[in-house]
C-alpha cells in the first residue's frame, strides 16, 4: 500500500489496520468516502468524529459486517475482503453489546467462544473477573445494568486473546468509576502488546488514553497521527513572578537560554515545543520536562526572581477537534 515506511510504521514498526480509498455508499449517499487510514500496531488509537461521520460503518467494514463499495484495506496484514482470515485475531464490540437475554453472562461468553472455535471455557471466569463481573457471571444477561452489559461486551471481545481490539463507544453507559476502569483496561490492553482501535465521543478520555488518533468527518479523514501531534502543538509553559516588575528580567533570562517568551498580561508564555533536550522535544517526555522546569526555576531563583507559577498548559483535544471539524478536510 505505501512505499517505504509510512508514518504509522515508523511509530511502532508495524501496521495493524490500513485502508486505502475505502468507500461505502448506500444508494447515492456516501457514508465513508475514500478513507485512507492507518493504525500502528501496539497503540491505543482513538477513532473520533461527529455523529454520522462514518465511524461505525468503517468499523463494520473492518469486521466484514458491511461490504465496502470501493477501496481496499488490510487488518492484521490480511485483506479486508477475507475477514475469515483475520477475525480470529480480532475482538470487537460494535455499537451496543448483543447478547441473549435468557442466558447468563458466562453462557453468553461460551456462545461467543464456540463461534470463535474455542473449546476451552476455563478462561471465561477470569475474563468476567477482569471486567468486574466476577460475581455476576451466572446471572441472566437480562438482569444486567447498561454498564454491566457493556463490560460483558468487552469480556466477549477479549475471548481468544486477540491481537487487535475494535471497540465502538466502550464507555457507553458506564458511571465515572467505570469510565476510569475502562481507561485503565484500555491501557492494559496496549501494555499487553495489543492494538486497540476505540471510537468514542468522550474526547477527554480519548486524550488521556490514546497515543494515536484518526479523525473523520463526512466519511473522510481529516487528521491522522500521534495524539501529541494534534494536541501538543498548542501546549505552552506559563510563568508568573511574584512581582510583575521582575517580568522583563525573567524574559531576558529566558531569552539567554534560547527561548522566546511572549508577554501576556502579568505572565510569560513559552511554546512547549521550544523546550528540547539534545534536539528532542520534551512535550511528551515527562522526566525531561520536569528537569527543564526545575532548571528554569533554579535560574530564576539565582537571579532573585520568585516564581509563583510555572505551569504547563495543554490544549484540550476538544478544542483542536472542534477546530478540525469546523475547518473541514485537511
Amino acid at each position: 500500500m505505501a512505499e517505504g515506511k509510512s508514518e504509522a510504521e515508523k511509530v511502532r514498526g508495524g501496521t495493524a489496520i490500513e485502508t486505502s480509498g475505502l468507500t461505502k455508499r448506500y444508494g447515492g449517499r456516501s457514508v465513508v468516502e475514500s478513507l485512507n487510514m492507518e493504525v500502528p500496531a501496539g497503540v491505543v488509537a482513538g477513532f473520533i468524529g461527529p455523529n454520522g461521520a462514518g465511524k461505525t460503518t468503517t468499523l463494520r467494514m473492518l469486521l466484514g459486517l458491511v461490504r465496502p463499495s470501493a477501496g481496499s484495506g488490510r487488518v492484521l496484514g490480511m485483506l479486508l475482503t477475507a475477514p475469515a482470515q483475520y477475525v480470529a485475531g480480532v475482538g470487537a464490540l460494535i455499537e451496543s453489546p448483543g447478547f441473549h437475554p435468557g442466558l447468563s453472562g458466562e453462557r453468553n461468553l461460551a456462545v461467543v467462544a464456540s463461534l470463535a472455535g474455542i473449546a476451552d471455557r476455563s478462561p471465561l471466569p477470569a475474563l468476567l473477573e477482569r471486567v468486574g463481573l466476577g460475581d455476576r457471571g451466572r446471572d441472566l444477561y437480562r438482569t444486567y445494568s447498561l454498564g454491566m452489559k457493556q463490560r460483558l461486551g468487552i469480556a466477549a471481545a477479549l475471548i481468544g486473546d486477540p491481537a487487535l481490539l475494535i471497540l465502538d463507544e466502550p464507555a457507553n453507559g458506564l458511571d465515572p468509576s467505570g469510565i476510569r476502569e475502562m481507561r485503565t483496561l484500555l491501557r492494559s490492553f496496549s501494555d499487553e502488546g495489543r492494538t486497540v482501535l476505540v471510537s468514542s465521543h468522550q474526547l477527554a478520555e480519548v486524550q488521556q488514553v490514546c497515543d494515536w488518533l484518526v479523525v473523520i468527518d463526512h466519511g473522510r479523514r481529516i487528521f491522522q497521527g500521534p495524539t501529541s501531534q494534534l494536541v501538543g502543538s498548542n501546549q505552552a509553559l506559563v510563568l508568573r513572578s511574584e512581582h510583575p516588575a521582575d517580568l522583563p528580567r525573567l524574559e531576558a533570562l529566558l531569552g539567554r537560554r534560547g527561548l522566546h517568551p511572549m508577554r501576556s498580561g502579568d505572565q510569560l508564555r513559552i511554546h512547549l515545543s521550544e523546550l528540547t533536550s539534545s534536539g528532542r522535544a520534551l512535550a511528551e517526555d515527562m522526566d525531561g520536562l520536569r528537569y527543564a522546569l526545575a532548571e528554569i526555576n533554579r535560574a530564576a531563583a539565582a537571579a532573585d526572581i520568585t516564581l509563583i507559577e510555572l505551569t504547563v498548559v495543554r490544549a484540550e483535544l476538544e478544542d483542536r477537534y472542534e477546530a478540525l471539524v469546523a475547518g473541514g478536510a485537511r
Binding site: 460494535i94 453489546p97 461467543v112
Partner: protein, 266 residues
C-alpha cells in the same frame, strides 16, 4: 458450521426452550391422540373431513398405523410450532444484535446459517421422537379404553408405519422450519415475519382450500401437511414431497443469498 452448531446448542440448552419444545410438541401429539380416539366412530361417516383425524373409525385405528395415528394428526400444529421456533430464533438474532456479535467471530455466513438450522433440526428431531413416544403410550392406553385391537400395531408393518410416521413428521417439520428461517432472514422482524407466515400457512391457505380443491395440490403449508400424513386424497405423497422440497429449496437459496450478501447494519 460446526462452531455455529455448537453455539446454537448452547443457546437451545436452556430450561425455557427445553421445557417449551419438550412439553408443547408431545402435548399436542397426546391431545391429537386423545381426540382421535374419543371422536373415532364405529363406521366411517360420509364425506371427507377437512381437519385431519376427525373422521377416523375404530377400524382404522386398529390397523398397523393406528399406534401413531394421533401423532400424525398433530402435524399442522406441530408444523406451526416449529415454524415459529425457527422464525423467532432467526429474527431474535437480528433484534438482539447477537448476529452482529456472532459474525465478528464467525464470518462464514453460509456455515453459520447451516449450523443454526441443523441445531434447531436436532432439537426438533428429539422433541418429535418424544412426542411420538408419548403419543404411542397414550394410544395403547386409549385402545384398551375403547376396545381397539392393538395386534397389528406391533407387527413389522406396524413398526414400519411408526418409523415412516416419524420420518414424515420430521420431514414436514423441517420444511416448516426452513420456511420459518427463510422468512426470518428475509423479513428480519419477528412481528412482520410471524404475521406474514402465520397468515399464509394458517387461515389463508385453509380458507382458499374451502373454495378451491386445487389448493391442497399447490399451497406449501397444505403440501407440508400432506407430507406429514404420507399423502392423501387431494395429492399423492411423492407429488407433495417433490413440490414441498422445491418450495423449501427456492426459499432456502433466496434467504441464503440474502443472508450472505446483505450488510449487517443494525
Amino acid at each position: 458450521m460446526i462452531r455455529s452448531f455448537r453455539a446454537e446448542v448452547l443457546k437451545l440448552r436452556r430450561r425455557s426452550v427445553l421445557w417449551g419444545v419438550g412439553v408443547v410438541l408431545p402435548g399436542f401429539a397426546v391431545l391429537a391422540t386423545i381426540l382421535g380416539f374419543v371422536n373415532a366412530r364405529d363406521t366411517a361417516a360420509s364425506g371427507t373431513s377437512v381437519i385431519a383425524g376427525t373422521n377416523t373409525t375404530l377400524e382404522q385405528l386398529a390397523q398397523a398405523g393406528g399406534l401413531t395415528q394421533g401423532f400424525s394428526n398433530a402435524a399442522t400444529f406441530v408444523g406451526i410450532i416449529v415454524f415459529v421456533l425457527f422464525l423467532t430464533s432467526m429474527t431474535s438474532e437480528y433484534g438482539q444484535g447477537t448476529l452482529r456479535v456472532a459474525l465478528t467471530r464467525q464470518p462464514r455466513r453460509e456455515g453459520m446459517l447451516a449450523g443454526k438450522l441443523f441445531a434447531l433440526l436436532g432439537l426438533t428431531a428429539a422433541a418429535l421422537l418424544g412426542a411420538e413416544a408419548v403419543s404411542a403410550v397414550a394410544s395403547v392406553l386409549l385402545a384398551h379404553a375403547r376396545d381397539v385391537s392393538t395386534a397389528d400395531w406391533f407387527t413389522g408393518a406396524g413398526l414400519a408405519h411408526t418409523a415412516a410416521d416419524y420420518g414424515n413428521a420430521l420431514l414436514a417439520a423441517a420444511l416448516f422450519g426452513v420456511v420459518g428461517t427463510a422468512l426470518g432472514v428475509l423479513l428480519r422482524s419477528t412481528m412482520l415475519a410471524l404475521a406474514v407466515g402465520l397468515a399464509w400457512i394458517g387461515p389463508l391457505e385453509h380458507i382458499v382450500q374451502l373454495s378451491w380443491s386445487g389448493a391442497g395440490r399447490w399451497f406449501p403449508g397444505l403440501l407440508f401437511d400432506a407430507v406429514d400424513l404420507g399423502g392423501g386424497d387431494v395429492t399423492s405423497y411423492s407429488r407433495a414431497l417433490a413440490l414441498s422440497l422445491a418450495f423449501a429449496s427456492v426459499l432456502l437459496v433466496a434467504s441464503g443469498i440474502s443472508f450472505v450478501r446483505r450488510d449487517i447494519t443494525s
